[in-house]
């Protein structure tokens, strides 16, 4: 039985550990200092976990870094005070702050994959702070690190440290980073979206490990996330931030059950978007018995699916399950090694070069990262106008008129036509990507995790847009996602993938209400619920622990299995 953090009385009795008063942080916007944190105060007692939530740009990370007396290059702390254990971090010298960082206050970053030095073994990075602190020999410190790896439930805690970061999976790396933060037994850990980049099934394991270690060591934590359901599992108290200001602050239970502000309530409702399932129609795209390989390595095995016209097929599964590979095979970017794909009854050549122009036009992709998929030097006119000219032959004024039409379809306006991608927000960039795909007037859209990089409110808008376009234009979508809430919002049919195979497929309601395959069950159970006791329930459920066992095996198998070539855009 795991101690629930809510049981600890620390928040009422402990001394104040961190006290941030009227903090103002400004960012240099081409010579003008603009505030991104506008006078926020917070205090945290020993052993207490405080959740900070809000969309991107709310100032969560900036606030989290300020707890270490740190500001990113291009930012400055303009006003306020940060007092840690009675030490005013902002008045101290850089040298004094360095002594506290890593030893008294530690930081766990969002992306473990990029936050580990690729050239050093994990163990050396884990013990770096402790070695600097001195007092213990290298051997003793390594033993401590191994104990922490075991506590974080990493596989092979005695050997895993000898590996390089690229040799372990994302979820394992995230746990190793938490072990790295714990090595000096700090009083406070700042967790900056530690599970955001992970699959739901991995997220559960990391969440459980983080919560156990924080509770057992009586460590205070600032837990930053945009996912309410996640923070509800850990935090005693939650602060909602928006545009650098505090919206609302309350104890977790009260925040979940009685949110006071309209903005907080809007965060709650996003997850409730649900598309009514529609009756199947004639299939437009048929995939039968498709295999695909990267070199000698089989990445897709015996994939069979039908895509009904005007409907949405959601493809779900964790990273490395072959979702994106399936998209690449359908689009012809990766030739299938066997099996057939047909569009409108006509067989598609497996490789892009052998497909007819009409077939190429018929399938269009929209990518997860609009930043990577849009040429940063092209204006919206170039980006959208080029496929218009290519596929319809329109030029000059006619082309410009069509581009404006397309922009209006995706709820952008005419004045965006001269913008560069860097001048647009994340949601606007994704809209431009969508407009570019519509320009080709395809029959099938392949949407590869198009909402996963976006804030929840923006996600909702994009999903609504996608649904409206489907209604108006009768388009067909293959929607790749790892998020079950997104599946609920847009899908008619669902395909669940695991390790290159389809483990279950069927209509949405059937699959979500009665998952047959154990992996589908595990996937659904791992979706965080708006209930502070959800994680306890999941962990205490005996069948759940069986599932966890199974996922664990999957995770260790994944270490060897998941590799992919550099994405070709």
């Amino acid at each position: 039985m795991i101690n629930k953090p809510h049981d600890t009385a620390a928040r009422h009795t402990g001394e104040v550990l961190l006290d941030i008063r009227d903090l103002v942080v400004e960012v240099d916007n081409s010579g003008v200092w603009q505030p991104i944190v506008k006078g926020i105060s917070l205090s945290l007692r020993r052993g207490e976990v405080l959740g900070l939530i809000g969309e991107s740009g709310a100032g969560k990370s900036t606030l989290g870094l300020a707890a270490l007396g740190f500001n990113r290059p291009g930012c400055r702390i303009a006003k306020g005070s940060v007092s840690f254990n009675g030490i005013d971090l902002l008045r101290e010298s850089e040298g004094a702050r360095r002594k506290i960082r890593g030893t008294r206050v530690a930081y766990v970053a969002q992306s473990a994959a990029t936050s580990f030095n690729p050239c050093a073994r994990i163990i050396d990075q884990t013990i770096e702070c402790a070695m600097r602190l001195g007092g213990l020999t290298r051997q003793e410190t390594i033993a401590q690190a191994k104990a922490l790896y075991a506590e974080m439930q990493l596989p092979n805690p005695n050997e895993i440290g000898e590996r390089y970061p690229h040799q372990v999976s994302g979820g394992q790396l995230q746990r190793a980073m938490t072990a790295m933060a714990m090595i000096c037994k700090p009083d406070l850990i700042v967790f900056d979206e530690p599970t955001t980049a992970l699959d739901v099934t991995t997220q559960v394991e990391v969440l459980a490990s983080v919560r156990r270690i924080v509770t057992d060591h009586h460590t205070a934590a600032l837990y930053i996330t945009h996912d309410l359901a996640v923070v509800a599992q850990l935090a005693h108290r939650i602060m909602v931030l928006r545009h650098g200001e505090l919206v609302e602050e309350a104890e977790t239970e009260r925040m979940l059950n009685h949110p006071q502000e309209a903005y907080t309530r809007s965060l709650w409702t996003v997850r409730n978007l649900e598309k009514p399932e529609e009756a199947p129609t004639q299939p437009i795209l048929k995939v039968s018995h498709v295999d695909a390989h990267y070199g000698d390595f089989k990445v897709l095995e015996d994939i069979c699916l039908d895509l009904p016209r005007g409907r949405t097929l959601a493809v779900v599964g964790e990273s490395g399950s072959g979702k994106s590979t399936l998209a690449r095979v359908v689009a012809g970017l990766l030739p299938a090694t066997s099996g057939t794909i047909s569009l409108n009854g006509a067989a598609l050549a497996s490789s892009l070069k052998q497909r007819a122009a009409g077939q190429l036009r018929g399938i269009q992709m929209i990518y997860q990262s609009a930043d990577a998929a849009l040429n940063p030097r092209h204006t919206v006119m170039d980006l959208v106008g080029r496929p218009v000219t290519l596929h319809t032959g329109l030029k000059g004024q006619a082309c410009a008129r069509r581009v404006v039409e397309l922009l209006e379809m995706v709820e952008l306006s005419e004045h965006h036509i001269t913008s560069l991608p860097s001048e647009l927000s994340g949601g606007q960039k994704q809209r431009v990507s969508i407009a570019r795909a519509i320009a080709a007037d395809p029959e099938v859209f392949i949407c590869d995790e198009i909402t996963s990089g976006l804030d929840q409110l923006v996600q909702e808008q994009i999903l609504k847009l996608i649904l409206n376009l489907q209604k108006e234009l009768d388009k067909t979508y293959i929607f790749i996602t790892h998020d079950i809430a997104t599946v609920k919002a847009i899908a008619d049919n669902v395909v669940v993938m695991q390790r290159g195979r389809i483990v279950q497929q069927g209509p949405k309601h059937e699959l979500l209400s009665s998952p047959r395959h154990p992996y589908t069950k595990a996937l659904l159970a791992a979706v965080p619920q708006m209930d502070p006791h959800w994680l306890d329930g999941l962990l205490n459920d005996s069948t759940a622990s069986l599932r966890r066992q199974e996922r664990f095996q999957v995770a260790s198998a994944k270490t060897q299995d998941t590799w992919r070539p550099a994405r070709l855009f």
Binding site: L65, R72, T103, A106, S115, F116, P118, E128, C129, R132
Partner: protein, 311 residues
């Protein structure tokens, strides 16, 4: 490795083809204006120039593979001078000069580059940058003459001619070579240092560097332990490029200081249309480039953990 050989083979073809289509005929130049067509033809036959191009190439490359670059056109009747005997000592001199310059410039460039990266935007960084910009901007012969004027003519500490003979002791050689080495180093330190600094600074915005800062790691440890190991690939590429330049590109310095290196040998051979020597020099230059770049690639692979420690 294989691609290196293929490149070398293609380069040898290009060298041979380029020289074959060049205007100018050694026989005509050597025999002067008064030569009759018969004597020219005879002379050509004795040099083997009458044979078809392909045949000449095959015999040349066949010899080159075995380390024999052929016979110089300057051989007298009965006293053959091989290309190896002309180039050999010159190559040794060039390699000697290059080695000394490399031993001085590479550590200095790395050291300055790292210091500049650690103390970036400080006055030290700015002055190093300004100085190296000057180093890159001035042509080598200009630097050579300025150094000569200051340190050999106005203040006669060093020699303006870098003639070394066998039997000189170390101090004397050092004195003779001081100015050419200084001239070369001035240019290549600048280049290597700036690239080292850029490669490191480029990495300093990485998330793992921010992580190291948040772990309270000191700035110089961040650069040495977290940035530098990730920067070896670009740094070794620029060092290889500059070392190749030491062998291939020092001809200007050799001419200015009258140093008997391979660059000067090639210039002399071009002037007298001694084609086998020109070809031999070109082939050696190409080999040096390819070998050093190969070495840089090996370093880049060895320091990339993804390649050195596959899953």
């Amino acid at each position: 490795m294989g691609s290196g050989f293929v490149t070398l083979f293609i380069v040898s073809l290009i060298i041979f083809a380029a020289i074959a289509v060049l205007p100018g005929d050694f026989a005509k130049v050597a025999l002067g204006r008064s030569a009759t067509p018969e004597t020219v033809a005879n002379f050509q036959r004795s040099l083997g120039l009458d044979r078809p191009v392909t045949e000449r190439y095959v015999s040349w490359i066949g010899g080159a593979v075995k380390g024999d670059l052929g016979v110089s056109f300057s051989s007298g009747p009965g006293t053959p001078r091989t290309v190896n005997s002309i180039i050999g000592p010159r190559l040794k001199n060039t390699l000697f000069l290059a080695a000394i310059a490399a031993l001085i410039s590479v550590p200095m460039a790395l050291l300055f580059g790292i210091i500049a990266a650690i103390r970036r935007n400080s006055w030290l960084d700015r002055s190093l940058n300004a100085l190296t910009l000057v180093g890159i901007s001035f042509p080598e012969f200009f630097v050579a003459y300025v150094l000569m004027l200051l340190l050999a003519v106005k203040l006669p500490i060093f020699y303006s001619l870098a003639r070394i003979t066998p039997g000189m002791d170390v101090v004397e050689i050092a004195e003779r070579l001081a100015l050419p080495v200084a001239t070369i180093c001035f240019g290549i330190i600048a280049h290597m240092m700036r690239m080292t600094r850029a490669a490191i600074i480029n990495l300093l915005s990485s998330p793992y560097i921010e992580m190291a800062k948040l772990k309270g790691t000191a700035p110089w440890i961040i650069v040495l332990r977290h940035a530098l190991p990730n920067a070896w690939a670009p740094i070794s590429a620029v060092i290889a490029f500059n070392l190749a330049y030491l062998i291939v590109g020092v001809v200007v310095v050799e001419v200015v200081f009258v140093y008997p290196g391979i660059g000067q040998a090639m210039v002399d051979a071009v002037r007298s249309r001694d084609i086998p020597v020109v070809q031999g020099c070109a082939l050696i230059f190409a080999t040096a480039y390819i070998l050093l770049n190969l070495l840089a690639d090996v370093i880049a692979i060895a320091t990339n953990p993804r390649l050195a420690h596959p899953r």
